[in-house]
């Protein structure tokens, strides 16, 4: 499909982007770097949700809770009890895995809409507990004063350094995710998404595949939570509240859930929109809600879906849909 010349330009463009991202702290304002750090840690959360939706057809709303639990792990173990650097983070991920196992084993006994509701409820249980427990988790106040460290002489309190660490972590995460998606496991997961009954009939352990996917996504969510907590310095229950969970779902769909890069595209758009919109109005939620409605109605495959269709010469897909009032099942 693409000519050799086309490929050359494409690779050049990708390289340019990559260099721009890597060199960001050298030319951009501090607030821009901070915004990109936000994009990265929310990106992890979006990737976590998007992986399950896109690859597994599972809409899970617990990811924000995993994000938060990891943050509390850092706060409780690292900050309050002085557990040193890599150990506190590893333990936090471990704690998330325990929760993810319990939730995953129960929730995956259901599917589709019920799965969504149950994961939503689980996420809110965690939120409610964090909100109300004051002895360990300090309730509404949460934990504050968390700071990143100086590791091997590099001070990660510096925004630039923190950004590079986050970027590297994200790149690694995406790399491993790519391998997973294209592995036999990934294909099995896609199979369960397409037709779980058939997969079961063929002898695949659908339940366990789903549980495994759930656990993998929990790891990504927890990485995001760890970065976020170091960066903002606080962890509070509101990190896991319903509106945050919904926002993440929105980002993923906006970018295009079925595409590998969809979630991060959605995150970039959502976070930058927040920065831009908040300078003009406080009605960010309305703006993004409306965009979301339009996306679901006219381009459920998200931004990347639109771009792909345009690229393939299909014209603007939503125009067709507006003119064609569709009421039949798709």
């Amino acid at each position: 499909m693409m000519t050799v010349r086309g490929k050359f330009w494409k690779y050049l463009l990708s390289l340019a982007i990559l260099m721009a991202l890597i060199l960001l702290p050298l030319y951009a304002s501090q607030y821009t770097i901070t915004t990109f750090i936000r994009i990265i840690y929310f990106g992890f959360l979006a990737v976590s949700t998007g992986f399950l939706i896109g690859q597994g057809g599972m809409v899970s709303l617990t990811q924000a809770a995993f994000f938060g639990i990891a943050g509390y792990g850092i706060g409780l173990l690292g900050y309050e009890r002085g557990v040193p650097f890599p150990l506190a983070d590893i333990l936090s991920i471990g704690i998330v895995m325990i929760f993810a196992s319990i939730f995953g084993l129960i929730a995956n006994r259901t599917q589709k809409i019920v799965f969504l509701m149950i994961t939503l409820a689980f996420g809110q249980v965690v939120f409610a507990f964090a909100l109300q427990n004051t002895t360990l988790l300090h309730g509404w106040a949460g934990i504050r004063g968390i700071r990143p460290f100086v590791i091997m002489g590099i001070d990660f309190n510096q925004t630039g350094n923190f950004y590079w660490a986050a970027l590297t972590l994200f790149a690694l995460g995406q790399f491993f995710l790519w391998r997973i998606v294209n592995s036999p496991f990934g294909l099995m997961l896609n199979g369960t998404r397409e037709n779980s009954q058939r997969m079961a009939a063929l002898g695949y352990p659908v339940y366990w595949i789903r549980v495994a996917a759930f656990l993998i996504s929990a790891v990504y969510a927890s990485l995001g939570g760890i970065l976020a907590t170091y960066n903002t310095g606080v962890i509070t229950p509101t990190t896991m509240q319903l509106s945050r969970t919904i926002w993440v779902l929105l980002m993923v769909i906006l970018g295009g859930a079925s595409y590998f890069w969809g979630p991060i595209v959605g995150t970039v758009v959502a976070v930058w929109l927040d920065v831009l919109v908040s300078q003009v109005t406080e009605r960010y939620n309305t703006v993004i809600g409306v965009i979301f409605v339009l996306t679901v109605l006219f381009s459920p495959t998200g931004i990347l879906g639109i771009l792909e269709t345009v690229r393939k010469g299909g014209g603007l897909p939503f125009l067709h849909k507006i003119l064609n009032r569709k009421t039949a099942p798709q």
């Binding site: 809409v59 129960i106 006994r109 259901t110 599917q111 589709k112 809409i113 019920v114 969504l116 509701m117 149950i118 939503l120 409820a121 809110q124 249980v125 409610a128 507990f129 909100l131 109300q132 427990n133 004051t134 509240q241 319903l242 509106s243 919904i246 779902l249 929105l250 769909i253 009605r283 960010y284 939620n285 309305t286 993004i288 809600g289 409306v290 979301f292 409605v293 679901v296 109605l297 459920p300 009032r325 569709k326 009421t327 039949a328 099942p329 798709q330």
Partner: protein, 286 residues
């Protein structure tokens, strides 16, 4: 004090009244359409706020109740016809649309009703202090229980004594066959969604009168509604009754004995039922 328990039980029944009105519409809509309306909490909140404005303007509470319910019914109708019906067929897009709607409603409510928690003022004729066994209990709570019983009976009559109800019940069981039999399924879908929205708005006026309406309240209410229908079983009206009663008491006693964990406690019955019987107490096997 002996009467403490009586008060707690009455409180539980009051909670149950609201939970039932909230959950009944939602469970029917889910059972029939396989869509969980995640903007149900926003419907509650908006209905309550509209009722509040009506009370401020006219002082007429029953009017506010009606206004709250009907305005949300209208909203539901418009939403269903213009948006939901376009994406009918896939569960996910419909659910996502309701999610988006909830964000928009919640945000717009901030603009028009400011950000302060508000409570509807109930006229004194509806809230006489009732003296029972040596303590006083606000009469309005009995009004609420009365309203919810009326609604329960009406719904029951609707479902079991009318053609529409029969079609709804059949649709819950088997959509395709009902449609093949010539029943106009889209009309029924719209009707059920509108009914569910109406009930959500009514619940908002009720809840806003005895508690308060506040920004962010829609999230809490949504979770309550979900717990009611998950516990009771999706699609089951009887299940909604039973689970509201159970949860009402859990909330009331929880607030009395463990107020620090009040919000968290309601998930326990849900978690227990889910691990043993994922379809809820009276739900169909999914």
């Amino acid at each position: 004090m002996d009467y403490k328990f009586v008060i707690l039980i009455l409180n539980g029944l009051t909670q149950a009244a609201i939970l039932f009105v909230l959950g009944s519409g939602l469970t029917l809509a889910f059972g029939l359409m396989r869509v969980v309306n995640l903007s149900h909490g926003a419907f509650y909140m908006l209905g309550g706020y509209i009722g509040y404005s009506v009370v401020i303007a006219t002082g007429n509470w029953p009017l506010a109740l009606l206004a709250g319910g009907l305005s949300i019914a209208l909203l539901g109708f418009v939403f269903e016809r213009t948006m939901l019906s376009r994406v009918r067929g896939g569960d996910l897009p419909e659910t996502l649309l309701t999610v988006a709607l909830s964000m928009i409603i919640a945000d717009q409510a901030l603009v028009y009703w400011a950000r302060n928690p508000v409570t509807l003022n109930v006229p004194t004729y509806l809230s006489p202090p009732i003296k029972l066994l040596g303590f006083t209990y606000p009469g309005f709570r009995f009004v609420m229980m009365g309203v919810s019983i009326i609604i329960a009976l009406s719904l029951w009559l609707l479902l079991y004594r009318t053609k529409l109800g029969a079609a709804v019940r059949a649709g819950v069981d088997d959509r395709e066959t009902v449609s093949a039999l010539g029943v106009n399924i889209p009309v029924i879908y719209t009707a059920v969604f509108v009914l569910s929205a109406f009930l959500g708005g009514i619940a908002g006026v009720l809840g806003g009168s005895y508690l308060q309406l506040s920004p962010g309240g829609d999230a809490i209410i949504l979770i309550y509604s979900l717990v009611v229908i998950i516990l009771g079983g999706m699609g089951s009206l009887g299940g909604a009754v039973i689970s509201s009663l159970i949860l009402g008491q859990v909330i009331s006693f929880g607030l009395a004995y463990a107020p620090q964990y009040s919000y968290f406690l309601i998930f326990i019955p849900m978690a227990i039922v889910l691990s043993i019987r994922p379809q809820g107490l009276f739900g169909r096997k999914l």
